[in-house]
Point group: C2
Chain length 313, copies 2
Amino acid sequence: MTTLLISADSNLDDWMDAWREAAPHRPVVCHGRAPYDPAAIQYALTWKPPAGALNALPNLKVAFNLGAGVDAVMADPTFPSHIPLVRLVDQDLTNRMGEWVVLQVLTHFRQTLGYLELQRTKTWRDLTQPAARSARVGLMGYGTLARHCTPILRGLGFNVHGWARGPKESDITLHHGEEGLANFLARTDILVCLLPLTEATRGILDAKLIGQLSRGTPVGPVLINAGRGGLQNEADILAALQDGTLKGASLDVFNEEPLPATSPMWDAPNLIITPHVAAITDPASAVGNIVEQIDAFEAGAPLQNVVDRGHGY
Amino acid sequence: MTTLLISADSNLDDWMDAWREAAPHRPVVCHGRAPYDPAAIQYALTWKPPAGALNALPNLKVAFNLGAGVDAVMADPTFPSHIPLVRLVDQDLTNRMGEWVVLQVLTHFRQTLGYLELQRTKTWRDLTQPAARSARVGLMGYGTLARHCTPILRGLGFNVHGWARGPKESDITLHHGEEGLANFLARTDILVCLLPLTEATRGILDAKLIGQLSRGTPVGPVLINAGRGGLQNEADILAALQDGTLKGASLDVFNEEPLPATSPMWDAPNLIITPHVAAITDPASAVGNIVEQIDAFEAGAPLQNVVDRGHGY
């Protein structure tokens, strides 16, 4: 009944404390801290585990990912295909992502960078400002995070639509599949990417995609990515910002993190960089969810939010 | 049946065009452009009219203000007390104000200025970030604009409460009156001021008020003012930003506008200045509302949003 914490993150104590608080009756050990018996491990809490580490646990029942993106675990070919991998779906994480997405949409739409520059030069001048109802926000990747953002963005007055891999129920217009992508992009002034990183999505944010975005509002098109850096062709994004094909962008993630000080992205015009902080997992909130899942699982309930190995998320 | 446009703003053509579009059968004249018969004027569309101008219209039935704040008309002692003055309540104006308020709340809460400075120095480092549920946004002045912001801010996860002059119906906690103000401020991390400017509110945003705000979150207290510059004691706000009593502020309005280039406010730390653009009135939208009101008024319906002369708004 032992749980193993196996994470590449530095805040291991926070996770261990959260676990002991939420499940004092469930023993927990931390990979890399002290020896443990691999055969005793039934559950793993994992974030970017070293390749092969999960395969070394013969009695592992479930692996719980400690963030929304499971691309690091999926990239480990030794991860046993019969072990369910559970994505973290957590209200705290969802809320934080919503804060970041709505902030970035409004920052570009209301021209914060332009006004900060006017302020720096002590210039009192207004910039042409359309109303939110004249702009269309496109949510690319329509899962829990996008669903959370939709009513907030609509409450602000934006037109919101989405794109998903396959058809889904939704109360907004949802384009889907390869064939729906061009229509979606042509109707999007502000693109918010919340896609998982899979073999199908790697590098999808490139010049071809950017070139298909609507140019129907003076403050767009804008690219906002809170998914994974691997979705980005950063040379293409940089070029699009430099030549004005993109009016602005916000990127929380990069192909190489930390973004090297030598990267030209730091100085790209109208680019807002945040250091992979859009939605940081709160250990107490996430562990609470996971312990509830384990209790239900042991009582016979099916696991929620299990990764589909075929789709990779 | 003639309507008079009498505005200190520069976009008179936009208003005249909007009127002719919305009410082609209703003659309209523009003050200062060509002579007109004062006795023919029944309705006035007005924005910061010169003192005495409205008093010169013997058959004026209603004056419609072309913005949310009526302090300029109220300051004219010759404005006849028997003429109803109608405030502009317009969904477009409300939406734009919502965009600006939510943007400013998130900008400070998610530390945009801090991250822009880290980006400038090519530094990949995260700042301690609480979740929205740990912060309390206080809406001071709880009318149409605040009511619009409430569900959006709650959707983002913030705790929202308000303060109003007198008791009002609301589904959030609403403090009221002089006696409720201290309680309201002590429970507010991010103060959003949407008050009208009256003799009771002039200079209310001063050191005494700022000193009462909660210091319960590392990113607060924050002061956001989209009301009128006359609400502000700007020397007190500057000092509070300089000594850290305020962690941040966003001001769209100032005692003197345009803000003079010599003002020390331009360089105040963690202050975001926008040049009175939070919610610009869209002539087409506003005129549509006003023509509807006139049609209803002539059919015998009572006027909506009439200013209470006693309260001054």
